[in-house]
């Protein structure tokens, strides 16, 4: 039993650190650290740098351009990226639709879609949730009716993250209305330029345009855009849900945020002393630190089990719950650190090129927006209550 990295693993970590030191653009890292707006071009610029290095597709098999890394290497990489303030790689292309195409797609589909995903030339978004199908995803109603060599799609998707930038969308659609819920669903790839698609912004409680509604009105989709068999789309969806979720705990993100929080709390004064010396605040900091240590070790145990050939299944549900609750707790502490200056809401100051005066301490302008934005963590990707249902069923046999 040894909780330390091997010399080989440490050497790999040094290689990753050297890469990040040299190649991670400082302006982008600064935006991430200070919770300023990241634009589409920031994400793409970083992803193209990753691809040049051959480190874009962590989870793909090597023959398709993946890294071929072990679970521990992937973990080290993700953790270092987070700690350095690298933007999160947009998952919809490289980590969501691509693994499905690799597993269930035709050779033609692999040739068509994978290279542009690897080089971030095509921006993908996800068409799963609908107004009436959230946690009960299989209740989706968007219809695809086969007519000759294409499907005609009608319906509505929602919570489509960054769909406003997307070139393509992968969708779960109902192809057999008479089959049992899960059995009449298919997995379709749809070009967002196709006539009949309308994207409407949804503005979230923090004033952000992050998610969208996507409407389909007699949208014609070529039959060759079906991935896997017709009516077997649920298999693809389930595969994605269990696919490589080592990063789900967000340990690196929490570590970076906690470090930043400590810096901030050392500067903010309360009763003539730094806030970090306030007993109540310090107690909550210590509690977060303790929980983060427990999360990190639990995550490492899961990674080590994967390294030894185990398939992380419902264990990742534990990590999702623990990790998201912790990240949310840290955003709450940032809000506390800002004090009364958590109140002013000046979205123009979220831009890196905002040149005007701040109101209150520099860090304070984004904390409340971020706090409210991060409420999403326990809702998306299968709400934390759904994760508990999964654990109850899969691990506890209830």
């Amino acid at each position: 039993m040894d909780i330390n990295y091997t010399p080989e693993e440490l050497a790999f970590r040094n290689e990753v650190r050297a890469f990040l030191d040299e190649k991670l653009p400082k302006d982008i890292a600064s935006k991430v650290k200070n919770s300023q707006h990241l634009g589409k071009e920031d994400t793409i610029r970083w992803q193209k740098i990753l691809n040049e290095q051959g480190w874009m597709a962590l989870h793909w098999p090597k023959e398709y351009g993946g890294t071929g890394w072990s679970p521990i290497q992937k973990h080290i990489f993700e953790e270092e990226c987070a700690e350095y303030g690298a933007p999160t790689v947009l998952p919809f292309g490289v980590n969501m639709v691509a693994p499905v195409i690799i597993k269930f797609g035709t050779e033609e589909q692999k040739k068509t879609y994978l290279p542009s995903i690897l080089n971030s030339d095509v921006w993908w978004c996800q068409g799963y949730s609908e107004p009436g199908a959230g946690s009960d995803l299989a209740g989706l109603k968007t219809k695809a009716v086969r007519e000759g060599d294409h499907y005609v799609v009608n319906g509505q998707k929602t919570w489509t993250t960054l769909g406003q930038h997307a070139d393509w969308i992968f969708c779960l659609v109902r192809t057999d209305p008479n089959a049992k819920k899960q059995e009449g669903i298919s997995f379709l790839l749809i070009d967002m330029q196709t006539p009949g698609i309308t994207v409407r912004p949804l503005i979230t409680l923090d004033g952000e345009h992050e998610v969208n509604e996507v409407f389909f009105d007699d949208v014609k989709v070529p039959v060759e855009n079906l991935v896997g068999e017709e009516n077997k789309g649920w298999t693809c969806a389930k595969y994605l849900l269990t696919f490589e979720r080592t990063g789900i705990a967000g340990v690196g993100q929490s570590k970076a945020a906690l470090k930043h929080l400590k810096e901030v709390a050392a500067k903010v004064q309360q009763n003539g002393k730094p806030l970090i010396e306030d007993p109540l605040f310090r107690n909550r900091l210590a509690d977060v630190e303790m929980e983060l240590m427990a999360l990190e070790m639990t995550n490492l145990r899961t990674v080590a089990a994967a390294q030894a050939g185990g398939v992380p299944g419902a264990e990742s549900s534990f990590l999702k719950i623990m990790g998201t609750e912790l990240r949310q707790e840290i955003t709450d502490l940032f809000r506390r650190a800002a004090g009364p200056y958590a109140q002013p809401f000046l979205p123009e100051t979220f831009e890196a090129d905002y040149g005007g005066d701040m109101v209150g301490p520099d860090f304070a302008n984004t904390v409340s927006a971020k706090y409210f934005n991060m409420r999403k963590l326990s809702i998306f990707g299968g709400s934390n209550e759904i994760q508990k249902n999964i654990i109850a069923k899969m691990i506890l046999g209830l």
Binding site: M1, I3, A294
Partner: protein, 380 residues
């Protein structure tokens, strides 16, 4: 990075596992618990025969030369069976402190006797006014002839009622709250000037209030320099307690899960109700965290002192927090049955909660951790 047990560690785990499975059914434990001694001397002899009393000691004395992970494996197994015997008091606390400080001649006698099952110890460190602070020592040791005489009072000394010898922390110099000036002594439990008031604890163990009035003691190690060894011993004791708690929490979770699958209300097993399913999931999540932190602490005993202190404090604090949750939920999900002395899970709950009152509770260790927030993983 590797979380697998070595072959030797796995053998140790199997040995303890078999012993607890075969020798520690609930009714047998109840008989031992309610006896005057509070545990079984036959069982203690079995520990000796199986080599368990030598786990942390050098092979020269017949020991296993184990460290944190080995003790973790043993203590977790003991936690599963709610073992009553004075393993923590004798081997982990008293034994390793002797091992760290004593001369070769002293070790020859004392360590060999521990391993052979002929010597039971208790560590008399904490005092009534000091709560969980091991540096608040008013008990004094004064030189007299070749030896020392010790006077003072020690609080809630685990298994102090039945120990053959006491390992006593006493002050040879300095003020009551100084870190320096602490020395360790071996005192015969039956010596003149030692009076013990033994009592059962609510979790089925025994402890004692001990008063020393010019009792003769034999010094271990250098005068006034026991603090480092004492803190190492306490860290090891915390690892053992964390592991014991983890083992007990695992069984509490398993028993609760089995109960909610079997207990019928409204025509279905109560485990079909989502409110209970989610609580059960939360118990298991706390168990996973407890296991993770126990491993972290067990593997950090040889780390730089500040890093060791940070991780050990965090582990004990987390066990206090998670343990309370698991214990309370185990009782709650068992309903009225959880309130019964005849239900095993109530005994697990009591032990898990009382572990928080040994070697520093959640509040104490949170404060320690608060003082160590700046220590990072690369600390040397």
């Amino acid at each position: 990075m590797d979380f697998k047990l070595s072959d030797e560690q796995r053998m140790l785990e199997e040995t303890v596992g078999r012993l607890v499975r075969d020798g520690y059914p609930f009714d047998v434990r109840e008989k031992a618990r309610t006896s005057e001694l509070g545990y079984s001397t036959d069982m203690w002899q079995q520990f000796a025969e199986l080599g368990l009393l030598g786990v942390p000691f050098a092979e020269d004395f017949g020991g296993f030369n184990g460290g944190g992970p080995e003790l973790m494996v043993v203590a977790e197994g003991f936690g599963r069976g709610l073992v009553l015997e004075p393993y923590l008091a004798t081997v982990v606390l008293g034994g390793t402190l002797i091992n760290a400080l004593a001369s070769d001649a002293q070790k020859e006698t004392l360590i060999s006797a521990i391993i052979g099952g002929e010597l039971r110890l208790a560590l008399a460190a904490y005092e009534p006014q000091g709560r969980y602070d091991h540096t608040q020592v008013a008990t004094r040791a004064d030189k007299q002839g070749d030896g020392y005489v010790i006077s003072g009072q020690k609080a809630v000394v685990l298994h102090g009622d039945s120990a053959d010898k006491l390992v006593v922390i006493a002050r040879t110099s300095g003020g009551d709250n100084d870190r320096d000036g602490l020395s360790a002594f071996v005192v015969d439990a039956g010596a003149e000037g030692v009076s013990r008031r033994g009592y059962p604890t609510i979790d089925g163990l025994h402890a004692a209030e001990i008063t020393f009035d010019k009792a003769a003691g034999e010094r271990l190690g250098e005068e006034g320099k026991a603090i480092d060894a004492l803190e190492k011993t306490l860290a090891l004791g915390i690892v053992a307690l964390c592991a014991e708690a983890t083992g007990a929490m695992e069984v509490a979770c398993d028993q609760t899960l089995a109960y909610i699958k079997e207990r019928q209300q409204f025509g279905v097993p109560i485990g079909k109700f989502q409110a209970l399913q989610h609580r059960m999931v939360e118990m298991r999540m706390e168990l996973e965290k407890a296991r993770s932190m126990t491993i972290l602490a067990a593997c950090s005993l040889e780390a730089a002192p500040a890093l060791r202190a940070k991780r050990v404090a965090a582990a004990k604090a987390l066990i206090g927090k998670s343990g309370r949750k698991v214990a309370e939920e185990a009782i709650q999900l068992h309903g009225g049955m959880g309130m019964m002395e005849e239900t095993a899970v109530s005994h697990y709950a009591k032990r898990i909660v009382m572990i928080d009152h040994q070697l520093g509770d959640l509040g104490y260790h949170m404060q320690q951790l608060e003082g160590l927030l700046d220590v990072d993983d690369d600390a040397a």
